[in-house]
C-alpha cells in the first residue's frame, strides 16, 4: 500500500442514512438565520425611525398644564373612557419629554455603539 492508495481511501466519503434529513436541517437553519437577520434589521430600522421621529416632535411650553386642564374639563363632560384617554395622552406627552432629554439621547447613542462593537467582535469571531 502506498500514499496514493491512502489518498484514494480518503477520497471516498462515508454513506449516511440521514443524508436527506441533514440537508433539510442545514437549509432550514440557514433560512431561519437569514429571516432572523432580516427581522432584526427591520426592527432596528423601525425603532430608530420612531426614535428619530420623537426628536422632531415638539410639544408647546406648558403642555402638561394645559393637558391637565383639558383632563379636568373632560372629567366633567365625558365618561370614564374619555378620562382614561386623556390620562394616556398626558403620559404620552411625558414620555415624549423624557425621550427628548439629552441623557436619553446619550444612553441610546452608547447602546448603539455597544451593539456595533458586539457586531464587530462577532464578525471577527465568525471570520473564515
Amino acid at each position: 500500500m502506498n500514499d496514493s492508495d491512502i489518498g484514494e481511501l480518503f477520497a471516498m466519503p462515508a454513506v449516511f442514512d440521514d443524508a436527506a434529513a441533514f440537508e433539510a436541517r442545514t437549509t432550514r437553519k440557514l433560512m431561519l438565520r437569514l429571516m432572523l437577520r432580516q427581522w432584526l434589521v427591520a426592527m432596528a430600522g423601525l425603532i430608530g425611525g420612531v426614535y428619530a421621529l420623537f426628536q422632531f416632535v415638539r410639544v408647546p411650553d406648558g403642555a402638561p398644564l394645559s393637558m391637565k386642564m383639558a383632563q379636568v374639563q373632560t372629567d366633567r363632560m365625558f365618561n370614564q373612557a374619555g378620562h382614561q384617554l386623556t390620562n394616556l395622552t398626558t403620559s404620552g406627552v411625558r414620555y415624549l419629554d423624557l425621550v427628548q432629554q439629552p441623557m436619553v439621547f446619550w444612553a441610546v447613542f452608547a447602546l448603539c455603539l455597544t451593539l456595533l462593537g458586539l457586531y464587530y467582535a462577532y464578525s471577527r469571531e465568525e471570520s473564515l
Binding site: M1, L9, F10, P13, M31, E126
Partner: protein
C-alpha cells in the same frame, strides 16, 4: 435571480456555477451544493476526530459560514476543499478551547482504545484505522490527505513547527499502512519517553 433558476437544472451545473448562483441569492443553488458536499464534509470532520452529532453541527455551521462568505471564495481550488478548510478551522478552534494539550508534541508510545481488536476485522476500514492513531497524527494525516492541505498549511492551521507536522504525518502514514495492509512490514518501534 433565484426565481428564474429551475432547481431541476441545477443538478447539471458545476460547483463554480452553483457558487455564482448562490452568491447572487439563489437558495436552491446553495441547497444543491449542500446536497453534493454534505457527505464529504461530515466524513472529513469525523475523520479529524469529531464525534457524531458534534461533527454534524460543525458541518452545518461550516455550510452556513460558507454561504455568508461566498464572496470570499476565489475559485482557485475545488469548492469542497474550501468547505473542508472552513470546517477544519472550526473544529480546531473548538479543540483548542476544550483540549488544550492535544496539539503538543508527544513521542511516548500511544495505545488506542481499540489496540487489542482484530486487525483483520479493521483492514481496509480507514475510519477505524484512523481511530487507532494518536489524535494529533490523525489530525495531520486527515488534513493532508482528506483536506488537501500542504504540510505548511497544516503547520499554520495547527500552529505547530513544520518539522513536527511532517513527523506526525510520516508516523501516522506508517501506522495507517500497517493497519490497513496486513501484508505490509510491521510498524516501526517507537522510542520511549
Amino acid at each position: 435571480m433565484k426565481n428564474v433558476i429551475d432547481p431541476s437544472q441545477l443538478r447539471g451545473q458545476s460547483d463554480g456555477e452553483l457558487v455564482r448562483f448562490a452568491a447572487a441569492g439563489s437558495q436552491p443553488a446553495f441547497a444543491e451544493l449542500v446536497h453534493r458536499h454534505s457527505a464529504a464534509l461530515r466524513t472529513h470532520l469525523r475523520r479529524m476526530g469529531a464525534q457524531g452529532a458534534d461533527a454534524d453541527d460543525m458541518a452545518q455551521d461550516a455550510f452556513i459560514a460558507a454561504y455568508e462568505h461566498l464572496a470570499e471564495y476565489r475559485f482557485d481550488g475545488p469548492f469542497s476543499a474550501w468547505l473542508k478548510r472552513i470546517a477544519a478551522r472550526r473544529y480546531l478552534k473548538k479543540l483548542r478551547a476544550n483540549q488544550k494539550y492535544l496539539l503538543v508534541e508527544d513521542v511516548s508510545p500511544y495505545e488506542s482504545p481499540t489496540e487489542g481488536a482484530s486487525v483483520e476485522a479493521k483492514a481496509h476500514n480507514l475510519d477505524a484505522a484512523l481511530g487507532r492513531l494518536r489524535p494529533v497524527e490523525r489530525l495531520c494525516v486527515t488534513l493532508n490527505f482528506g483536506g488537501d492541505l500542504s504540510h505548511q498549511d497544516i503547520a499554520d492551521e495547527l500552529k505547530l513547527p513544520l518539522g513536527t507536522v511532517k513527523s506526525h504525518i510520516k508516523r501516522g502514514l506508517e501506522r495507517l499502512k500497517a493497519i490497513l495492509d496486513p501484508q505490509s512490514p510491521k510498524e516501526p518501534v517507537r522510542a520511549g519517553p
